[in-house]
């Protein structure tokens, strides 16, 4: 593969090569919860937004996506070729971290806990603001990550939804250029010690 092809491939979120890189970053984010991954492409392109990149990578005609806060435009819907669904039934839910959730996402079942929704949540800034203290699989003892624009309601609801492990939801938090992942196995507290998990 010559370098020209390489740069063309990276120049669009819709190119398979870009999605492969993005997938690896998301997988790393889930493997090491709280670790900030930069999603911006090496070569700038006008099409890029973090949300578009995440959706292009994770969704296709075989999954369902809910968009209760109208964050996906029509042009993207036609390119994604995915299936629109209500937040109660969708495998992926795109939402704003500054609006309290008004829905009950799918939590999976004991037989199929993986059918619980993945919530793709927009926050204002990763690395600034309220520090979250994370513990659990993928974290060596403790991980602190700051986050602004994440309403407290979200963490409270998350605790509720994930109360009957292994059922629950997983989350990807994104800002203008980065992501972190919070799988349901991660226990969250604040610096003051307020806990959102047992």
């Amino acid at each position: 593969m010559n370098t020209d092809l390489n740069s063309k491939a990276l120049a669009s979120v819709w190119a398979p090569a870009a999605q492969q890189l993005s997938f690896r970053k998301l997988m790393t984010a889930f493997s090491f919860p709280g670790r900030i991954e930069a999603m911006t492409p090496e070569i700038p392109n006008k099409d890029f937004t973090v949300l578009r990149m995440i959706l292009a990578t994770l969704t296709d005609g075989e999954v369902t996506v809910a968009d209760p806060h109208h964050m996906i435009d029509d042009h993207d819907w036609s390119k994604l070729e995915t299936n629109r669904e209500t937040p109660e039934k969708a495998r992926f839910i795109v939402a704003r971290g500054d609006i309290a959730p008004m829905f009950s996402p799918g939590l999976g079942s004991l037989e199929c806990p993986e059918m619980g929704a993945t919530i793709i949540l927009r926050v204002e800034h990763l690395g600034r603001g309220e520090p979250l203290v994370l513990r659990g699989p993928g974290i060596q003892s403790v991980k602190e990550v700051a986050c602004s624009g994440l309403g407290a309601a979200w963490l409270g609801k998350r605790q509720e939804w994930n109360g009957a492990f292994p059922m629950g939801v997983d989350m990807i938090l994104f800002d203008a250029s980065r992501v972190i992942a919070l799988p349901r196995t991660t226990r969250i507290t604040t610096k003051e010690g307020k806990s959102w998990d047992m």
Binding site: W14, S78, K79, E81
Partner: protein, 158 residues
């Protein structure tokens, strides 16, 4: 020369698929030099499950997968005339599907440049006729004439 309207739209892909792919790609490339092409969806190359109905109990089932490529475009020609076209083909080349979608758009909406495509359709029709003829030869040469069996039946005394 028969007018292209003698080929219904549902046969266009079949006729174009009978041609060497380079001819179709070249025709589409020529058109893109004088027209604007916008993708309505990302050209895709993937698989489709082929669904049949069984002959014993008429139940639908999937016999396996077929390669499928598809594209959906809008073409605006040099007069400013606009039209939509699309193609889904049993092939793994998304670029070929996109080329056929462009030709479909130009033909269906009578856009500028359709004359060359009409010529391609005719060439495709000629090739298809040859294929049909060779299958026909197989059938004709291997057709069983049971009347001969019936005629000699009574003479078969062992």
């Amino acid at each position: 020369m028969t007018h292209y309207e003698s080929y219904p739209r549902r046969d266009w892909l079949r006729l174009l698929l009978a041609l060497p792919p380079q001819k179709v790609m070249e025709a589409a490339r020529e058109l893109t030099e004088r027209c604007r092409v916008d993708d309505q969806a990302l050209p895709q190359s993937g698989l489709a499950l082929l669904q049949l109905r069984d002959g014993a109990l008429a139940e639908p089932y999937f016999i396996g997968e077929i390669p499928l490529s598809r594209a959906h475009v809008t073409v605006v020609d040099d007069r400013g005339e606009k039209g939509e076209g699309a193609a889904q083909i049993l092939d793994d080349r998304a670029s070929l599907a996109r080329a056929m979608a462009i030709l479909d758009a130009v033909l269906a909406n009578k856009l500028n440049g359709r004359e060359n495509i009409e010529i391609l359709l005719e060439e495709g029709a000629r090739r298809l006729l040859r294929d049909e003829a060779s299958r026909g030869v197989i059938l004709k040469r291997t057709r069983v004439d049971f009347s001969l069996l019936d005629a000699t039946g009574e003479d078969n005394e062992i």
